[in-house]
Assembly symmetry: C2
Homo-oligomer: 365 residues x 2
């Protein structure tokens, strides 16, 4: 097999080659069971063992305390935009910190279920800087405060989670961590609920992970579908409706790979090294390339950048593809380029990208 | 590779070996793209081509008329139990025909969103016979009438869809066809909406197929999550939220396999042959085995059966497993055994089951 190209897709995104190889090897017969994982009853002992290992490994990797439940659901981040307020808002006040396209969507969807307001917004900076926590307008009666800790489209990341208690706010924090989960540790003392669509930094689209403090379960609105009521999901070990079994299996293989590679601490170290290399290249390109995000808010996972001469965009993308660097086109709402460098992207891939970028700049500069 | 065992799981269920083999072969590199299907952006041309082929093949296989939209969603049949009334009920009257465990759940969930009532029920027969259409109490103001055309747990199947117009009812018919979709043709003139979780007769859990007449789209309740609003899903070609891309790819491979095997007409013929063989064996076992469903309501897909001497259940299951016949244990609410013989089960598998059953009866009769 030839060397695989490097895939910079924002999601669904690259998976570790070792995970794909193992999935291919086990496709027709999982561990001598005579079945593909796709063919197993979700209630059988084979799949239950896969499910329990995935949950256990995720809990270990993120050091999730015992008072949090881990749920494997469906519907993605956009689904959770409705599912979270249906479960947690009690129809009351909800404060959303708008830092980019994703939190903006979360606010809009939440407004259908409760009195949701923007506690702060970086719209004036076109989503390129984080609003200071001192300026957040948090309401004393808020049922929860919602943040997106990494904005996939805008490339803005919170490098620490806000300490709501220190801001005088007693409400639980809800974190959309879809695009940087497992790239850094989580301070669970600051979190009420954290969710993530799996298709960015874990793997398979169609799996949604919800990690929720037990006391926040059991308060769903009457109109919340049973399949999305955290109580119902938790009471049935994520098997009220048939779970996305194959996606959970792949996520479990990714968790095993992460553990073997050194866990979240090692991913954190690698993320820093990869981001440092790429941002350094952008900042030292003599203006040929630019990233517009404030330095302290720059994402280590999603790096949008622009060529000063945008007429070169097509040539840049075509040359990249030829060099084995895939899916670098920016999101349509932002334009330019975007390199998503999740856990599965080796430093070698970022080095190849940087080499290509420098060479391209030399040829066209 | 050794011969694979025969898998009688009710869902997630057996897949054609050719489909699994192809998925394994393409796992690390789909068609020279350098990517696994799991790694592709859902907005890239590679995945769009996979999606469009799957939709086109499904439309061809089921002869879906152009005024119906095909949606690929998430949440399964239990999800649709809420999603359908959120989209179609307008909060009004809904009539549900209760024929088994699944339609009973559908009724209960619908009652949270609208004035849902049982138009008929076979509860008195313990879900072993179909209530005659002449006895259905349909309301003139019903927004829709819901049926489950094949009850997976109870093994009861409607061999023709009801003709509501002939019953003097103008409401659209909603059909939960999860466990027999693609095993027979559909008379679309009788249908308003048909849905199916993929994990029974198509393949991968986590994909939900909704085929809905266009005029029924666009009437969702205000509290319907955007990701589950048929209008939003249809307007975005099932890509409002990231679709379960790998599951759609596998479903697409199953559709290609179905076409190559002769399509739905051939599956219909095979289903009849397999069911005839199995029911004949049950009915001629001298009382050793029994299926309790009325003959005209017997499912061709899910065949629950009982040993007269239930103390032999464990020996039956252990021997079956040894003979390469997997997942025959009945649903916990019914007990006994259940053989699910979906499209992916060859006649050879049913023959092997029948041989084992006859041999077991001889040894223990």
């Amino acid at each position: 097999m030839l060397k695989r190209p490097f895939n910079f897709s924002a999601g669904p995104a690259a998976l570790p080659e070792a995970v794909l190889q193992r999935a291919a090897d086990e496709m027709l017969d999982w561990h001598g069971s005579g079945m593909s994982v796709m063919e197993m009853s979700h209630r059988g002992k084979e799949f239950i063992s896969i499910y329990e290992a995935a949950e256990r490994d995720l809990r270990e990797l993120l050091a999730v305390p015992s008072q949090f439940r881990i749920l494997f659901m469906q519907g993605g981040g956009l689904g959770e935009n409705a599912v979270v307020p249906m479960n947690l808002s009690r129809g009351g006040a909800v404060d959303v910190v708008v830092t980019g396209s994703w939190s903006k969507k979360s606010l809009k969807e939440a407004q259908r279920y409760c009195n949701a307001q923007a506690a702060a917004s970086n719209e004036v900076s076109r989503h390129t800087a984080l609003p200071a926590t001192s300026q957040w307008r948090l309401r004393s009666n808020a049922a929860y405060v919602h943040v997106c800790s990494n904005e996939t489209i805008d490339g803005v990341e919170m490098h620490t989670l806000p300490d709501l208690a220190a801001l005088g706010c007693a409400a639980p924090l809800v974190v959309d961590a879809s695009s940087h989960i497992l790239s850094r540790s989580v301070d669970w003392s600051r979190v009420g609920l954290l969710f993530a669509g799996a298709q960015k930094n874990i793997g398979p689209a169609g799996v949604t992970i919800v990690i929720v403090r037990e006391d926040l379960i059991g308060h769903a609105l009457a109109i919340c579908p049973s399949a999305f009521d955290y109580q119902c999901v938790a009471d049935n070990q994520s098997m009220y409706n048939t779970p996305p079994t194959y996606g959970i299996y792949i996520a479990g293989l990714v968790f095993q790979w992460l553990k073997a590679e050194g866990g979240v601490a090692e991913m954190d170290r690698r993320a820093q090294a990869k981001a440092d290399l790429l941002y350094h290249t952008l900042d030292h390109s003599g203006g040929f390339y630019a990233n517009r995000v404030a330095h302290d808010a720059r994402s280590r996972m999603n790096v949008p950048f622009f060529l000063a001469d945008e007429t070169l965009n097509d040539a840049f993308l075509a040359g990249a593809k030829e060099a084995g660097l895939l899916q670098l086109k920016g999101h349509k709402s932002v334009g330019g380029m975007r390199a998503s460098i999740y856990n599965a992207m080796p430093l070698e891939g970022v080095q190849a990208l940087v080499n290509y970028m420098q060479d391209f700049a030399r040829r066209h500069g």
